[in-house]
């Protein structure tokens, strides 16, 4: 009885095992790179939501007196255009801030699309086995035998260039990764006692697949989804760069790079900053993914 009256921060409180979230944070926060990635991603989200307040100018406004004005620290730079202006006098910093919206939206939509479809296909393949599994795996083999960017390019060429079609194409090429990962996780879980127990109690197929098995396959999928963000952003930016993604005057970062290609030897800032934005965003998601993998993988935890 006496123990129950002790306040939480005494021995009795410390002896309680930490909750799963606290345990996760303990391992995750030990990884400096992962935390840095998370902070950068949080800043990006914040910046893109508040883009209207953060950006000094309208991203589409053309300042005719300041065409190809260099960044502020270089001779001839202007204080009102911190990172300079592009070939039609638009403020690069403002376009980058608004461009973050595109990248995060692209990442979210592409990952949701391919994750949902991939999880369903992977669950079906692993759970049903037999002919269903063979068909799904062969389909994924076919998708994987065509280089990702090439397949995306061809799909966009057929659907027509544009941001939506580019996202569909990129989601399609990242499908095999999620499907195969889910199937492998399902195969590892399906013979476990808790699955058999649920089956004995009378759980239906759908319940077994989505409520019993799927939650226990979540860890690798979360990691893959985080890394999938970077692939989605990179591939969609590549399509934008090739003129097949978001169309000008959209301030999508890949499209901005495509617009500025001809100035590559005359105005380095027009080319440098959009690419740097892509690199930092992708790097942040990769750092986050690596951190999640380390924190969620029980094998690595003990070592």
């Amino acid at each position: 009885m006496a123990a129950a009256e002790l306040p939480d921060d005494t021995l009795a409180g410390k002896g309680r095992p930490p909750g799963p979230l606290a345990e996760f944070w303990h391992y995750f926060s030990a990884n400096g790179g992962a935390v840095a990635g998370l902070v950068l991603i949080a800043l990006l989200f914040l910046g893109s939501i508040l883009a209207g307040f953060v950006a000094p100018h309208d991203p589409a406004e053309q300042f005719r007196d300041h065409i190809l004005s260099p960044p502020v620290w270089q001779a001839g730079g202007s204080g009102s255009f911190l990172l300079g202006t592009d070939a039609v006098g638009r403020d690069i910093l403002s376009r980058l801030v608004f461009g973050a919206r595109y990248s995060l939206l692209i990442g979210s939509i592409v990952v949701s699309l391919s994750l949902c479809l991939g999880v369903v296909l992977g669950l079906l393949a692993g759970y049903a086995g037999g002919i269903v599994e063979t068909i799904i795996l062969r389909l994924m083999d076919i998708l994987m035998s065509i280089p990702a960017l090439l397949l995306a390019i061809v799909v966009v060429a057929i659907l027509g260039p544009g941001l939506i079609n580019a996202m569909i194409a990129v989601a399609l090429v990242s499908l095999p990764g999620y499907t195969r990962l889910t199937r492998a996780a399902v195969l590892a879980e399906i013979r476990r006692d808790y699955v058999v127990a649920s089956q004995v109690v009378g759980a239906g197929h759908l319940r077994l697949m989505f409520m019993v098995i799927l939650p226990n396959c979540a860890a690798p999928l979360i990691v893959q989804a985080s890394l999938g963000f970077s692939d989605a952003i990179l591939n969609t930016a590549a399509l934008g760069f090739l003129g097949l993604g978001a169309q000008p005057p959209a301030s999508e970062w890949g499209t901005m790079l495509a617009d500025s290609r001809e100035f590559v030897l005359r105005a380095w800032w027009v080319v440098t900053f959009p690419g740097l934005a892509i690199l930092l965003t992708v790097l942040a998601f990769n750092l986050l993914g690596d951190g999640l993998r380390d924190a969620l993988d029980p094998k690595l935890k003990r070592s």
Partner: protein, 337 residues
């Protein structure tokens, strides 16, 4: 070994059929039918349209059309480019060596830098050197290579003026190309030294740009494979025997760490080609990637279809070759599964 080869080939057949079907069906998903596509913006009158539909067999059931297409593919007929009127296979083969040369140079560079960097990081685990290699590797892995290529141009062509911006060789040099590999053909020309140096300076930047991602992945994979192997008993035994660290790492550990690394190198092929599309476009490198992008821009669908098919088959065949090689080296794989 023979049954292993047969098994691998058997798996390839449905994938090959699937890829041909994808290539066949994709072109039919394009708005408008193939005749309108070939006619372009001029258009055709309905009577001639119907005649052409019959002539090309486009009025038959889709399954029959696919059968005919497959027959043509298997006999090496991939159709004609709408723009140049050349057979697609001929165009592909004439540009293929340029892409292979670029890809091989990039892969070689990636291995020559990535492998030692990974070994060094593993041996010096936890030191600043390790962090440097891993940091560089993560950055390389996250790099948008179309931007990286532009940066290389800004620095090495723009500021330093060391390298040309585009093409495979100076227009000054003109010679026969028996191998299609510019580095080799230039050595066989009348001015071997100058021509070779010109070809090399054209190759340098595209190869560096294309090598970046595989290099990062190879360094990462080598490091983790080495770390695993270095903690094995036989490595400790080798050390206890008094062998020099160089011998232990270079001979005993590396040989076993290389197995997963080789797999990863093989898996980079598709990524390498994706990268080649971007690299070739930026450096105006006259290879398959640039050709395909231009074909898409000109709506030259037979070229896109044939190119897609040929690239997929090339990737499949190289993967098969790596698989077989792997089975040859590692008996556990050959006999399992």
């Amino acid at each position: 070994m023979l049954s292993f080869i047969v098994r691998r080939l058997a798996i390839l057949v449905p994938t090959f059929l699937g890829v041909t079907f994808v290539a066949f069906i994709l072109i039919r998903l394009v708005p408008g039918d193939p005749i309108e596509m070939m006619a372009g913006e001029r258009g055709v009158d309905p009577a001639r349209h119907a005649m052409l539909m019959t002539q090309y067999g486009l009025d038959r059931p889709l399954v029959v059309q696919y059968g005919i297409f497959l027959g043509h593919v298997l006999s090496g007929n991939l159709g004609q480019s709408v723009v140049t009127k050349q057979p697609v296979l001929t165009e592909f083969l004439s540009l293929f060596p340029a892409t292979v040369e670029l890809s091989l140079a990039a892969m070689l560079l990636a291995i020559l830098v990535g492998l030692p960097a990974g070994i060094l990081a593993a041996v010096k685990r936890g030191t600043p050197l390790d962090h440097l290699v891993m940091g560089a590797s993560l950055t390389g892995y996250s790099m948008p290579i179309f931007w990286w290529a532009l940066l290389l141009i800004i620095v090495f062509s723009g500021m330093l003026g060391w390298t040309p911006v585009s093409g495979r060789i100076d227009l000054l040099y003109y010679f026969d190309q028996p191998t299609g590999f510019m580095l080799i053909d230039s050595l066989l020309s009348d001015e071997p030294v100058d021509a070779f140096l010109s070809a090399l300076s054209h190759l340098a930047l595209p190869a560096i740009a294309l090598a970046t991602i595989p290099m990062a992945i190879i360094a990462r994979q080598t490091r983790s494979a080495m770390l695993e192997v270095l903690s094995e008993d036989y490595v400790r035994t080798a050390r206890a025997k008094g062998l020099s660290p160089l011998r232990v790492v270079g001979l005993h550990a590396l040989r076993n760490a290389l197995i997963p690394v080789i797999t990863v190198i093989g898996l980079q092929l598709g990524t390498l080609f994706s990268g080649a599309i971007l690299t070739e476009t930026i450096f105006a490198w006259p290879g398959i990637g640039k050709w395909l992008i231009e074909a898409i821009g000109r709506r030259d669908y037979p070229a896109v279809q044939g190119g897609l098919l040929l690239i997929a088959v090339t990737v499949m065949l190289v993967n098969l070759a790596i698989d077989l090689l792997y089975g040859l080296v590692n008996p556990r794989i050959r006999h399992g599964g």
